[in-house]
């Protein structure tokens, strides 16, 4: 599993890889919104979590359509599927590599971008934690979508239509966790987000592997 994980991280971070693309997209969206909304710091702080969460989800999606597609097109997926490890393990390794090269860097970058929205320190911390806890769910659910759309022509366009509705709980709870801190409320949203992310990560390898088997046999 480590061989596949390291290879995917290496491919994502090399020239032409998806890691920098996702980060650049996230930063661009997060920079443009305050410019468009104006200097109303109260308003910016209220919308920060929602905007940054949606930007993080969309940035993650940029790299998702190639998660299995590139290996499928160049024949690597056939060879990887016949390797000793189960296809579920393969799906988990590739999903983990996706999160390590998109979700985690986006999370690390988020406190910097939160400054543009005038987010208070405690809310910035809540945003960081919510992204850290929630972005694995984005990769996990996205992997299932990437597996399902593998052999579909222009599957990259269909992928968001499948994945985005399934990710709405992550966005709702993720942004809700930050708003709860801003409003001084107890943070049940973060716990719900953690539970959602946990179940997504546990179930995703099985669903993704089933989708891959379906496409490899087509």
């Amino acid at each position: 599993m480590s061989a596949l994980l390291l290879r995917d991280i290496r491919l994502a971070t090399r020239a032409g890889g998806s890691a920098m693309l996702a980060l650049a997209f996230f930063a661009a969206v997060a920079t443009l919104v305050p410019l468009g909304v104006g200097a109303d710091l109260k308003l910016l702080a209220r919308i920060a979590a929602g905007v940054l969460w949606v930007a993080a989800v969309l940035a993650s999606l940029l790299a998702l359509d190639r998660l299995f597609q590139a290996d499928f097109e160049d024949g690597s997926l056939d060879v990887i599927a016949l390797a000793p490890q189960a296809l579920e393990t393969t799906a988990f390794a590739k999903t983990a590599a996706h999160w390590l090269t998109t979700g985690l860097p986006l999370t690390i970058l988020s406190p910097l971008l939160a400054v543009l929205f005038g987010l208070p320190e405690n809310a910035t911390a809540a945003l960081f934690v919510s992204l850290l806890v929630g972005t694995p769910a984005v990769s996990a659910i996205g992997a299932v979508g990437a597996g399902l759309t593998l052999s579909i022509r222009r599957g990259g366009l269909i992928l968001p239509l499948i994945v985005l509705p399934l990710l709405s709980p992550a966005v709702i709870f993720g942004a809700g966790a930050v708003l709860a801190v801003l409003d001084g409320l107890s943070n049940g949203a973060l716990l719900l987000l953690a539970a959602f992310s946990f179940f997504a990560c546990v179930l995703s390898p099985f669903a993704t592997a089933a989708a891959l088997r379906l496409n490899l046999g087509s």
Partner: protein, 200 residues
């Protein structure tokens, strides 16, 4: 090779693709140490047959046994695969590609020796994007050597290879069979090795 198998056996295979019967009641048996050359016109089902043997596809009817394995997933774990595409990444060098697959397959093969066997030593650090189609095919042949599986399924292994490359491919298959391996090769070209023939 990590493990050896006695034979590959197919009984009364029928394949239907896109509502079209490609072949019906196909049976064959290949013993250890032998190569089977699958021949036939375009679209008769050579690739489908290989993908069925490898466990990717299910036959409409019939059974496949590779050694003692009948289950598709178990069969797949005995297979070294060389398909139409060569599984070479543009961003990874020849050495990185082969090292990756050697680790993935937990093979005990020597990457340097495998590159030497297919004449790629001097290109070891060249990224895949600069390799020609024939050189990529050589990488795929080296990968087969490293995966340590008792059955090679090869789809057009001579495609894109020059005369020297074809000789290397033929020598690799011959040496592999001499060590007790089984090769099932779908091809339109003369392999230049002793093999049984199956015409679809």
């Amino acid at each position: 090779m990590a493990a050896s198998i006695k034979s590959v056996e197919a009984n009364a295979l029928t394949v239907i693709r896109g509502g079209r019967v490609l072949f019906r009641d196909l049976s064959f048996r290949v013993e250890a140490g032998k190569a089977l050359c699958v021949e036939g016109a375009n679209g008769v089902g050579k690739t489908s047959l290989l993908r069925m043997l490898g466990g990717f596809l299910d036959p409409a009817s019939g059974t496949i046994r590779i050694g003692d394995a009948e289950d598709a997933e178990e069969r797949g774990k005995l297979v070294g695969w060389l398909g139409h595409h060569d599984a070479v990444k543009a961003q990874m060098s020849v050495r990185e590609t082969l090292s990756f697959f050697a680790r993935l397959y937990r093979g005990d093969g020597d990457v340097e020796a495998a590159m030497d066997a297919v004449g790629l030593t001097r290109l070891a650090d060249l990224p895949g994007q600069y390799l020609s189609a024939g050189q990529k095919k050589r990488v795929a042949l080296a990968r087969l050597k490293l995966c340590g599986r008792p059955l090679w399924l090869m789809d057009e292994p001579l495609a894109s290879l020059d005369a020297a490359g074809k000789t290397i491919a033929a020598d690799l298959i011959t040496a592999y069979c001499a060590r007790g391996g089984i090769a099932v090769v779908a091809t339109h070209e003369l392999l230049g090795i002793a093999c049984e023939r199956l015409v679809l």
